[in-house]
């Protein structure tokens, strides 16, 4: 089909939107693809909807190939769907909620595990009905605290969410692998670089979970990987290795010493003459449940590392972890800020078995036999030669410390590096958590009721589109990969007289006849500069210019990505375009 720019509901904008932090946001708005309606809520203008549809179509094709069946659930669901699984509380403010005119509580679904599980419970009854994988491509709602970066992290977004149902763990493994394979095909077709990392399964629950991350400096996630590619994990899922055990038999008994005013690691390092890595930092934190109840804990880690709150929250979810407040400290005068430690006067001080009874956790990196300089719960004093576990113990181990490049991978493959990335898909083995809570069972071959086992598999359609824009642009605008470009060719008629416009019209019709989708810039009064600038901003991969030379039978074929312009005879233009496309258009069909 031919879309004429003279009547298209598309306006390019000269200025960047004031709140745009990233290139995809700037360019998608300026090139007329999206318009903001509210924080994190966007409308898709006609050309934007075309790109979105193409991404959806690739996802749909690969889901079909993976044997998944498409259906669709409403975005508005009764809140009670989420109560049996506890997710109404887990999501907290992240879920949009409302009451209807009859005061029934409703929710805008952030994800649909419960609804799909209930549908399967409703319709299927036998192991013979399984496996089944069903999915939808649907608008989701999450009331993000900090919607940002345009459609990269919106409050409304389009997602493909699939759910597999099996009755054996082996079945779940197979369904999971099928979806995982489909995702790899999708990202290859979208041309999006990805790394599959072990992930924390978070609010979803379940046993096994992997994230597809797109490595990008604007990513919100940190992941780690080894040089040999044998290990990759989201930083929240990274498992630290404890330091090698040491023989502490030669370490003297702990001895206190004066450290006037040394309430920071730096000051202790100076006064005690040891490196920060040999000081034990004791951080007071509060665990907060969804009703706001606070429990104080202390976490100890090497003095040269900071606590990574996101990693720590994994250990204590669904409770959130917050720094202790002045109010928290006021209730515990025994905690002398800057001088806290697990030990005092020869006895355990922190921990449920200690004097204070405050739960005390040790970072997973701390090794047996390690000797520490740390606080002794008295102002202006520290202790040295405090050996774990000779002199103090803990209520448990947690992954608390920040992860650093150079830390050891848990699989023995050597040091990891840390990188930034954005989650582009997530696959979960949910196991029986949802099916158990909602009573989704089938009869097994022996006629016995068994709870089904589930997986859930999500791809953010709109987020992926934004990342494709991030990965495919230059300072002048977008450069769409051919498989998801909104149009196949952008024909520009420009210059004096009727000839360029007649030639443009004729080429548009020829291109249409060749099965191409054509954007035809037939605007009568815009200058060549404006038209070329718009074409670069909009980012259709191929441009044909019918300009001054059109009267001589020549037009220009312009490759947006390489910026190469070739003069071609009008009669050959569409054939040349088709050839060039055949070279650059890579369709994955393995």
């Amino acid at each position: 089909m031919i879309q004429r720019l003279s009547s298209y509901f598309l306006r390019t904008l000269r200025d960047n939107p004031a709140d745009a932090e990233v290139a995809s946001h700037r360019l998608l708005v300026r090139a007329g693809y999206i318009r903001r309606q509210a924080p994190g809520v966007f409308a898709w203008l006609p050309i934007g909807l075309r790109v979105k549809r193409r991404v959806e179509e690739i996802v749909r094709e690969e889901m079909t190939r993976a044997g998944a069946q498409e259906m669709i659930f409403p975005g508005l669901l009764p809140a009670e769907f989420y109560t049996a699984t506890g997710r109404l509380d887990d999501y907290g403010d992240g879920m949009f909620r409302l009451t209807d005119r009859k005061d029934v509580e409703m929710a805008l679904a952030p994800t649909h595990e419960e609804a799909f599980t209930l549908a399967v419970k409703d319709l299927l009854s036998s192991y013979k009905d399984l496996p089944v994988t069903i999915y939808q491509i649907q608008d989701k709602y999450r009331d993000e605290a900090r919607p940002r970066a345009g459609i990269l992290r919106g409050r409304e977004f389009t997602m493909k969410d699939a759910y597999s149902f099996d009755w054996t763990p082996e079945g779940l493994d197979a369904s999971y692998q099928t979806q995982r394979d489909a995702y790899e095909r999708i990202f290859k077709r979208l041309g999006l670089e990805y790394v599959i990392v072990a992930a924390d399964s978070g609010a979803m629950g379940g046993s096994k979970s992997e994230e597809f991350l797109h490595p990008t400096p604007i990513g919100e996630d940190t992941f780690v990987r080894t040089a040999d590619g044998s290990y990759a994990a989201n930083v929240e899922a990274f498992v630290s290795s404890p330091a090698e055990p040491k023989d502490a038999s030669g370490v003297p008994a702990p001895s206190s010493f004066d450290t006037p005013g040394a309430a920071t690691i730096a000051a202790i390092v100076e006064q005690a003459g040891v490196p920060a890595s040999q000081t034990l930092k004791n951080v007071v934190l509060a665990l907060v449940d969804h009703e706001g109840n606070r429990e104080l804990i202390v976490v100890a880690l090497e003095g040269d590392r900071e606590v990574d709150m996101k990693r720590l929250e994994v250990a204590f979810q669904p409770r959130e972890v917050e720094p202790a407040t002045a109010e928290d400290f006021a209730k515990h005068p025994e905690l002398v800020r800057g001088f806290i430690g697990p030990w005092k006067d020869g006895a355990q001080f922190l921990g449920t078995e200690g004097t204070t009874g405050i739960p005390f956790y040790l970072d997973a990196r701390i090794g047996e036999g390690s000797a520490w300089v740390t606080g002794v719960n008295e102002a202006d004093k520290h202790v040295r030669d405090l050996v774990y576990p000779r002199d103090f113990t803990a209520d448990g181990r947690v992954e608390a410390a920040e992860v650093r490049s150079g830390d050891q991978a848990p699989n023995g493959a050597g040091p990891i590096t840390t990188e930034r990335g954005t989650e582009i898909a997530h696959v979960f083995q949910l196991g029986q958590r949802y099916a158990e809570a909602l009573g989704c069972k089938v009869l097994d071959p022996n006629g016995k009721q068994v709870t089904v086992t589930m997986g859930s598999y999500g791809i953010g359609v709109t987020r992926n589109l934004a990342l494709i824009a991030e990965q495919n642009h230059d300072e002048r605008g977008l450069i769409w990969p051919e498989e998801i470009a909104p149009f196949d060719v952008h024909i520009i008629a420009t210059g004096k007289g009727a000839v360029p416009f007649e030639v443009g019209e004729s080429l548009a019709k020829q291109a249409e006849a060749a099965g191409l989708e054509v954007l035809f810039d037939d605007r009568p009064k815009e200058s060549p500069g404006v038209k070329f600038g718009d074409a670069e901003l909009i980012g259709i991969p191929w441009i044909i210019i019918a300009g001054k030379t059109a009267a001589d039978g020549v037009v220009e074929l312009w490759n947006r990505r390489t910026n190469e312009r070739t003069s071609v005879a009008i009669d050959e233009a569409i054939a040349r375009l088709t050839e060039a496309r055949a070279v650059t258009l890579v369709v994955t069909t393995d």
Copy 2:
């Protein structure tokens, strides 16, 4: 493609859903197309989504043909979008509302006039940018007080809503006509009978409005039309003709008479010896605004007619009309229930100029010079020979009385008949109401700012699908028209041994190769009776049975609509099917 029933997420149900009042609801649920999630909120199962997509595709094709451009807005919008136009109040409880985590008021959009207007305001600036018609196919939300009849009147539903923008009234007329023509093509392709009726423009505001109604006894709307087809109107938009003026010079002066206990029209008729049509019924009503303020009014109409509250509400919108309550009456002891009238003791009693000051309206049917028997505001008394307007007047005329078959059409085309129907589309000339409220202006050719003029055009996708099911079923199940059937052919393999299944498989592949979408019932253990019953319930228009005779090279071609079964050679089956489809598949391409 081939979808095998053995692995399809589709289960037919034997029992009707308990709350199903209409055939489409019963059959779409039983045949596995939809499942209820909440009152008026449904999920679309895989086969249901296929039909929904086909309806959407027809709508989309005709929108494209009409030059409309597709885009999409979020379902979740800031409530403030609706405040400038007053619709937040107009919709009242009908709009789902919520507040986000930052206490910003949000709404689930019942319709998107404001959002589209703001987008045009945002992007366009000149008369040269117009006309433009933009549309979306989108899930809408309305908190209906009485969701019913499955997807016929849901709280979440899919709608195509288009909006035209012009800068002259003639432009609006043309855009309106283009959409109206597109709608006619859509309904012809969907095979849905329709009547275009003049309509009240309701909460939308605006100057001209027509509804497409589908005549059906289960319809919620009443419409009228003349036998010659020259006039048709929604009953709310019907304009009554006042009775011919009469010469009342010979009518004696009004005289009161005793009517002991005659507080009903029937009793007055008996005691006064006049037909009910010559008594004047005075109905006390309350107008209620969205803040709950009540104003009492009295409406007078012929005694043999009832007040049609929906018609009356058109006159007083956005206020709602309610019957007066005992409490209302308690505040007005001057109103003697059963004996109310406009006149008392020779003077105007009701009306802002009357003794009571209570606004008094006269039904539009009341003619000049008509003489009435009516109450005289005193218990057990009435008056006769009370002549309008000789003896009493009113504050205004309203369309209050129910419309009856036999009433005169306002265009002089004679009597109308009343029928039931369901709204399947609505076209509005909104004029400048929204553009004015939201400041949507463009520069005209003289460089002057002019407010744009708009139309809005809606088709309920899911409602139309339900009506197609209503119109296309029998006692055994659905019978889809070919253009929107979820599959083109339903192939059943049944019987002993492998042959029928091999033949079915081979035919399914041949049909797929011929470009048909195939549902293949390959279930190994279901009986022929179950398979045939499911096929009839599901309603694919063509069925091929590979059964007992398959071993002899013969299968049956079954027309679901006519119930005709023809034996055909296996080798010819797909060719015969294709021929038969060519006859029955009517594609409108005018």
